[in-house]
Symmetry: C2
DNA sequence: CATAACCTTGACGTTTACGTTATAGTTAGG
DNA sequence: CCTAACTATAACGTAAACGTCAAGGTTATG
């Protein structure tokens, strides 16, 4: 059986996958990087910055990323690329999101109706703050678009005028 | 007459303003920086990168920025902040815009109807390319917003459920 | 005409966000 | 068990986008 280098690599990738007690698949750094479109160096850097600490380390001390970790990395990409935020700003925003998550946890355990309501209201507030950040940029982008559209319309008008 | 330091500065600012043959006001670098919300260093850096070369230099070799220069600087800010473009990318985009402008000039001088039409079509094409860049980011931002909105809706739903 | 407050061109420093290289441990396949 | 291909940390390098002096010229004002 002459296994190609390609096939070997694929085997390696399959071997990359471990599992948590929960049965969730865990990825080694290179595979996590591949799935998120980043590099392993970048993932280590994000960890150094405290942005994404992988779910756990295997016996070999290898980093093992969970599905939640991958989602978080994707989120960082979004915020960085789309909102032009620095990693510092992203960190703050993710902290807010985490507050929301832990708030969700507390919510589950809570039995007091009044407190649960209060927690939900708090979660809504946090998300609104996030939303306003996005909305702000959205509006300004929208204006940029309108400018471009206006230019096109002007040209178009002259064109029809010319060809009348 | 005990002129305050404040007043002196204001005098200086007024003195900053020179005029082109056209009668357009020209600003020295600090005032140009103040108006655009940047620093003089940044403006010099932009010139170094070839992004904004001031309209002219005075006899004193001072940089003098025209209204068009100021607009261009504002444009750079927009593209950098809103689209998260690097100065390189902005340079390319501004080049495209300049093509559009010079095209506009050529258009004015042109008498041949067919050529004028062609030029307009070209201008429209260029603007469309710009537009697609903006639109792309806009769509992805919109998705971010929907995610946030969905989260809010979920919370809101649970809240009404709870308080029913 | 002195002085303050501009301006000039270097040139070196800094932060961010990684890339790259070196050295060494770990794991799967033949 | 040897080798290839992963992994680890550490450390140095780098490009972008400026900040921050330093040394000197220019201009308005008292």
């Amino acid at each position: 059986m002459t296994e190609t280098k390609q096939a070997e690599v694929e085997n390696q990738i399959v071997a990359d996958i471990e599992r948590l007690d929960t049965g969730e698949e865990l990825l080694q750094i290179e595979e996590a990087a591949r799935r998120t479109g980043l590099t392993s160096r970048t993932l280590r850097y994000y960890e150094e910055r405290g942005l994404v600490v992988p779910a756990r380390r295997g016996d070999s001390n290898y980093r093992l990323y969970s599905g939640a970790d991958i989602e978080r990395i994707e989120r960082i990409k979004q915020l960085k690329d789309l909102l032009a935020f620095s990693l510092d700003e992203i960190g703050e925003l993710l902290e807010v999101e985490e507050q929301r998550v832990s708030l969700k946890q507390a919510f589950k355990l809570e039995t007091d109706r009044a407190i649960k309501s209060q927690q939900l209201r708090q979660a809504i507030l946090l998300t609104h703050r996030e939303l306003s950040l996005i909305d702000d940029k959205l509006h300004r982008l929208e204006k940029l678009k309108q400018d471009a559209l206006a230019r096109i319309a002007r040209h178009q008008h002259r064109l029809t005028e010319l060809e009348a």
